[in-house]
């Protein structure tokens, strides 16, 4: 221990008077580690200790987790044996032990199985050390005495040193034939002239070996015994060593068995992901992953998704993708590196507090600060340096790849950070920036957004260790800037088909020039190019001017001079670089070019419409094929992120950055619209005429524009309604359904409600209702930028045509709205707000059957 905490002087017996004499007794707070090659040597010391403790009236807990025979008989009257499953992994095991110790409180005594057993179960050598470093300070604080055993040859020097540093008492036991010696290595704050000499046991007494010749002979004989022993590897190293051997010898049965074992410790525990990995990640692939892994443990969901997807493509369409899929250059920081970081920085107690129900959100900020201020263990730092040497000065991207990320049902999209590193400067500066980036991504696991997301999905009590995916940023240097030719998000199901001719199964893409950050998120005032893959030339614009207006004008780049991610106007970028692929991605805006000439600016003015890429290259076909193949492989619609690298003919090669199952808007899992819904339960139901894919949302609040009141309002009053809705939406964070006549976002108040998208950006679902007067007809395609915004925010949308046979709408089934004052204006009366309380609505939509229903689950026939 670095600091000098207070330790009680109260003496505790080892149960052996002779040993007490050697060690000057134990003290309350001591952690005692026995390094033994034979567990019988541990047992022979445990029993007297336990009996002595029992006589003193101590509570004694035996933590049983090893596969070896018990060190204490389960029938011992004074000992409570608690079995702990060691197979759950580091966090599970450590947390369980932590909670047990906390529960038993101060003064309890503990005896543990051999820590080396953990190496059989799951652990790497380093993680055994980390476990010890977490648990022992807690035991010390709680004034316990705890005994541990350790097999000295099964651990590295580093782990042994760490354990030695942490424990209060460390004793080696040597047996040479019938000769048993104990050798105290450490006894904190105790000493005597002979305490730290080897002691030979004789009739219950321990005599120090004071003759140096005797000691030397003893040492020599011990070394002789060790000479021919093979070093014992931990589970991790042994597993991969066996895997290499199986591949080298062509042993198929062993290869299959080992593949399964490696998948379980490297890839995932999720059955669906494992099933995919089993099919598409061979043992050789897994070895390759390991060769790029810093630390140990899982590589996490994002890395797994990316690797599986690449292998699906190569396996299913080798000729196409061997030529047009760029090789990846990714490295990984395993989940154990995350745990090691936490332990190294003394953050485990903070983690335990944060994992509690009361501390889940309140403890997070302090933990986050602790992570951001933390340092890396020396061995990890070395690996990080090696990684940077590998990437040279190419920009890299540090991405979260937590265990639960990108799984079926839990995308965690945008919840954790990704950090771009320009990776310029001296090696020291680059390493410092790299470490900062890693800390930032680790700390993002404690953001409120991420924690609430997990809580909403009942994932808050599940482990969520953070692995990292380190990727070389695909792109080119353009003077001071670095950026890919293009980047995008592809979805194998077009969940926003705005035209009846579009087939949802054909897929959709959002494409940008430069870094893909601009394709992933909605950016106010700027737009990615959204295309349905079966109709890429069809855009939801009226004319060319609109298509130019709603195109991308700003480009995300890495600015090597400033050393940061930056956003630059396209025009500015073109002023400083002449080799951007504009003829492949853009069209010349002639009228803007003329205007530019008139005001003395250089032209031409380019607009990023991507039409040359669409019409003159195989981009659309290749992307469609990529998405289709991945969807078949996943047996589920998928969502991918990619970059493009254009050759000199403009033909694109793909760099697949991420792949995950397509998420449902709202809660997880497949959606089935319930059968047998009673009319009384419905707010509305429709067949078709909705967008957003599968939807499963619980709605807490409805804001509704009363069509009959709205119809009587003047134009200016209708604009007031739009403003009032914006205010109402912003007052609360509840999941809100917005429902109104005609078109949301129209500029003509006669046709609907003239809101801006920013007024309604917080709603979960937008519903337009066709009104009898005929002119207020829903059609989202009328607001082209509205449509884009809906796509980018993933807002569900439905259009209701109550007069048709495919639609039912019962606004009178809503409960009483929030009251308005008796002297409320007509505008206030037009906007009704319904807080649903304990009778929320459920909005469910199934893309496959094209059914959508919004209903009150709580209402039953018995009501």
């Amino acid at each position: 221990m670095n600091h000098e905490p207070h330790q009680s002087d109260e003496r505790v017996s080892t149960g052996l008077a002779g040993l007490d004499e050697v060690l000057d007794h134990l003290r309350i707070g001591d952690n005692v580690v026995w390094r033994v090659s034979d567990l019988d040597d541990y047992r022979r010391f445990v029993l007297p200790f336990v009996n002595a403790a029992a006589r003193s009236g101590r509570r004694i807990i035996y933590l049983r987790f090893g596969e070896h025979a018990p060190v204490i008989d389960a029938q011992h009257p004074s000992v409570q044996t608690i079995r702990i499953d060691a197979l759950g992994g580091f966090e599970s095991f450590t947390s369980r032990v932590w909670h047990l110790i906390e529960q038993h409180g101060p003064g309890a005594f503990y005896v543990c199985d051999s820590l080396s057993e953990l190496l059989n179960a799951w652990a790497t050598d380093a993680m055994v050390g980390n476990f010890f470093r977490v648990v022992c300070p807690l035991l010390f604080e709680l004034d316990t005495v705890a005994w541990f055993a350790l097999h000295p040859e099964r651990h590295s020097r580093m782990t042994l040193d760490r354990i030695r540093e942490t424990t209060q008492v460390l004793i080696d036991v040597h047996r040479h034939q019938q000769d048993v010696q104990i050798h105290p290595i450490k006894a904190w704050r105790r000493q005597s002239p002979t305490m730290f000499l080897p002691h030979r046991e004789q009739d219950g007494h321990f005599q120090p070996i004071t003759d140096s010749t005797d000691a030397t002979r003893l040492q020599a004989s011990l070394e002789q015994e060790l000479l021919h022993r093979q070093p014992l590897l931990d589970y991790w190293d042994r597993l991969f060593q066996d895997a290499s051997r199986a591949i080298a010898t062509g042993d198929r049965a062993a290869t299959e068995r080992l593949q399964e074992q490696v998948l379980q410790v490297l890839i995932s525990r999720d059955p669906q992901i494992l099933a995919l990995a089993r099919r598409y990640l061979s043992l050789a692939d897994l070895l390759s992953i390991r060769s790029r892994l810093v630390g140990s443990g899982y590589i996490g969901g994002k890395a797994t998704g990316m690797l599986i997807a690449r292998n699906i493509l190569i396996a299913e369409q080798p000729e196409l993708w061997q030529e047009h899929l760029e090789p990846h250059d990714s490295s990984y920081l395993g989940t154990d590196a995350y745990y090691a970081f936490l332990v190294h920085n003394g953050l485990w107690p903070a983690i335990m507090r944060q994992r509690s129900a009361s501390g889940y959100l309140s403890e997070a900020p302090a933990l986050r600060e602790g992570i951001l201020a933390g340092s890396f263990p020396a061995e990890i730092r070395c690996e990080l340096e090696r990684l940077l040497d590998h990437y040279g000065q190419y920009p890299i991207l540090v991405r979260s790849s937590s265990l639960q990320e990108d799984g079926f049902g839990n995308a965690f999209a945008g919840k954790y950070d990704s950090v771009f590193l320009v990776n310029q400067g001296s090696p020291e500066q680059r390493l410092a920036a790299f470490e900062d980036a890693i800390r930032q991504v680790y700390a993002s696991s404690m953001s409120e957004d991420a924690l609430v997301y997990r809580q909403q999905r009942d994932l808050d009590q599940r482990e969520e260790p953070m692995a990292l995916l380190i990727q070389r940023v695909n792109g080119r240097f353009h003077n001071r800037y670095y950026l890919p030719d293009a980047a995008g998000v592809g979805v194998s199901r077009n969940t926003f088909t705005w035209d009846s001719h579009m087939d949802p199964k054909a897929g959709m893409v959002r494409l940008v020039m430069g870094l893909g950050t601009r394709a992933v998120d909605r950016i106010e005032g700027d737009h990615a190019c959204v295309m349905a893959l079966d109709h890429p030339g069809r855009q939801p614009f009226r004319n060319q001017d609109e298509s130019y207006r709603f195109s991308q004008h700003l480009v995300d780049v890495l600015d090597l001079a400033d050393g940061s991610l930056a956003t630059r106007p396209l025009s500015q970028l073109l002023e400083s670089t002449s080799d951007l692929p504009m003829t492949q991605l853009a069209e010349v805006d002639r009228s803007a070019s003329e205007r530019a000439r008139q005001i003395g600016l250089a032209g031409p003015v380019w607009r990023l419409t991507f039409q040359p890429l669409v019409h003159k290259t195989a981009f659309i076909d290749r992307l469609a094929s990529l998405l289709h193949t991945l969807e078949q492989g996943y047996e589920h619609p998928v969502d991918v992120e990619f970059t493009l690298h254009l050759d000199r003919h403009g033909e694109p090669a793909f760099n697949l950055v991420q792949c995950r199952p397509l998420a449902t808007i709202g809660d997880t899992g497949p959606v089935t619209v319930p059968e047998g819904l009673q009319t009384r339960q419905l707010l509305f139901r429709t067949e078709g005429h909705f967008m957003g894919g599968n939807i499963n949302l619980s709605i807490a609040r409805v804001i509704r524009v009363d069509a009959s009141v709205y119809a009587d309002l003047s134009t200016s009053e209708r604009h007031e309604v739009a403003r009032l809705i914006g205010l109402q939406v912003r007052t609360e964070n509840a999941r809100t359904l917005l429902i109104g006549p005609g078109r949301w976002g129209t500029s003509s108040p006669d046709l609907g409600v003239p809101v801006r998208f920013s007024d309604i950006a917080g709603v979960s679902a937008l519903v337009e209702v066709s009104e009898k007067s005929g002119e207020m007809v829903p059609d989202l395609s009328y607001g082209s930028h509205f449509f884009q915004d809906l796509v980018e925010t993933g807002t569900a949308y439905a259009a209701l045509f109550p007069d048709s046979s495919h639609c039912q709408y019962y606004p009178d089934h809503l409960p009483e709205p929030d009251p308005v004052d008796s002297d409320a204006s007509a505008v206030e009366q037009a906007v009704r707000v319904y807080h649903l309380g304990n009778q929320p609505l459920q909005l469910s939509a199934d893309v496959a059957s094209q059914q959508l229903a919004c209903y009150f689950p709580a209402r039953r026939a018995t009501e």
Partner: protein, 449 residues
């Protein structure tokens, strides 16, 4: 409907309701015009005797027709098109064509009815009309747009002509569509009658200064309002809302006339530059780079950007709302008045709420309604017709000078009409009545037709 009508006008309105059931927008437009006509009938009783108002409320001709066309996949579609030739007392029917799925007869009649008076106010020889179709141009290829336009013109041509009916663009009908429509007209009629359409490209009879017309016109009108009070724009501080075409060219003309525009905006926020808005920067941002107005501060660090700011809180002498409908409400009007604003002219359509208008009028501020102040766009359409009729191609400067003359005339007519009816300086009343009077007097002169 708000105010009750004069007892002579109420039966007319009821008849309109009866004859045009379900056309709410048309009803509202008629009601708004009738509200202002009480004093007119007192002064001009012959209009009642000759049933001028009843005749004005009934379109001269309403044409509804089928437009079949094929998409790129060969699938056949059928749309419905309309042309309402409302009133030709002052000249050939003049009004835009709108392609939008919401289009139906009621909308076209409402727009056409308003067009009569908007056109009349210019003082130019143009009547009122409007047309359109429920065709949705969104997502259509150029070929599909062309086929639709050609099919539409194949029916409509027989009703058009430079002396008969002259359409222009509107929502969904831009330069591309005008080109296709004119091309088909020329082909069928075998006549190069360039005056049959306005909104044409510059290479084939279009008018220079069209882009600038509405913005320039608004400022010309403002100048006239100030002149009528013995003042001018020179040295005045001006705010202009918006940063589209109308706003940009309003700023340009205001600067030319010696004013200093210190603020403009877009839907996200406002820019305040006490040194005067640099128009080249605004043009660069909005017309070339298509960015948010917030980017202005990248080029002019001293300027201030306020996200979601209220431009009407910026102290000014003159306010020109050029952004959108309903952007200036009663509270904003009060702020402007309290800050010493002396003139407001609308470059946009109906940007000021009724409460705002009342406040401006009570404060006796010079308030120019959009109907008059933004008539520059309509006027330039008529100038294009004149240019085509003389088979000439006018320069920008000449077109601009003609535009200025027209705006001066519009102001004069509104001002004098307001005075004639005992409401000096009330441009709203002046604009409403003046447009009507021109049409009514002409109809009266032409007999019962």
């Amino acid at each position: 409907m708000p105010a009750t009508l004069d007892e002579k006008l109420e039966p007319i309105f009821q008849d309109v309701l009866h004859r045009n059931p379900g056309e709410k927008e048309f009803h509202q437009a008629v009601h708004e015009v009738l509200e202002t006509l009480g004093p007119v009938l007192v002064k001009y009783p012959e209009f009642a005797e000759q049933k001028i108002i009843q005749r004005i409320c009934e379109p001269e001709r309403q044409i509804i027709f089928r437009v079949p066309w094929q998409d790129d996949k060969g699938e056949i579609h059928i749309n419905r098109a309309f042309r309402v030739e409302f009133n030709s007392a002052l000249g050939p029917y003049k009004g835009g064509m709108r392609f939008h799925p919401s289009v139906y007869l009621g909308i076209i009649k409402f727009l056409g009815f308003e067009q009569i008076f908007k056109n009349a106010l210019t003082g130019l020889p143009i009547g009122g009309g409007k047309g359109g179709s429920d065709f949705d141009p969104k997502g259509k290829s150029d070929s599909e747009i062309m086929r639709f336009c050609q099919s539409l013109m194949t029916e409509l041509y027989r009703h058009l002509g430079e002396y008969t009916d002259v359409p222009a663009g509107d929502i969904g009908v831009g330069g591309r569509e005008i080109g296709y429509l004119f091309g088909q007209y020329k082909r069928i009629t075998n006549r190069y009658e360039s005056g049959v359409f306005t909104g044409k490209g510059l290479d084939w009879g279009g008018s220079r200064a069209r882009t600038e017309a509405t913005g320039y016109g608004t400022v010309f009108f403002t100048q006239e309002m100030l002149k009528a009070r013995g003042d001018s724009l020179d040295g005045k501080t001006v705010v202009v809302s918006g940063s589209g075409n109308v706003a940009i060219y309003a700023i340009e003309k205001a600067h030319e006339l010696g004013a200093k525009v210190i603020a403009c905006s877009d839907s996200q926020g406002i820019i305040v530059d006490e040194k005067g808005i640099n128009l080249d920067t605004v043009k660069r941002i909005k017309e070339v780079e298509r960015r948010r107005i917030s980017a202005y501060t990248e080029f002019h660090k001293h300027a201030k950007y306020v996200e979601d700011g209220n431009i009407w809180s910026v102290k000014c002498d003159v306010a020109l709302p050029c952004a959108t409908q309903n952007e200036l409400n009663g509270k904003d009007a009060k702020t402007l008045v309290e800050n010493g604003c002396i003139a407001v002219a609308e470059g946009a359509n109906m940007p000021t709420t009724p409460e705002g208008i009342v406040l401006f009028q009570e404060a006796k501020l010079a308030y120019g309604p959009g109907k008059a102040a933004n008539a520059g766009g309509v006027a330039t359409s008529a100038l294009e017709m004149q240019q085509n009729a003389s088979r000439d191609s006018w320069s920008f400067d000449y077109t601009q000078s003609r535009l200025e003359e027209i705006m001066i005339d519009i102001h004069k007519n509104c001002f004098e009409t307001a005075a004639e009816f005992g409401a000096e300086g009330n441009y709203v009343l002046g604009a409403n009545i003046n447009g009507f009077l021109r049409v009514a007097r002409s109809m009266n002169a032409m007999g019962v037709i």
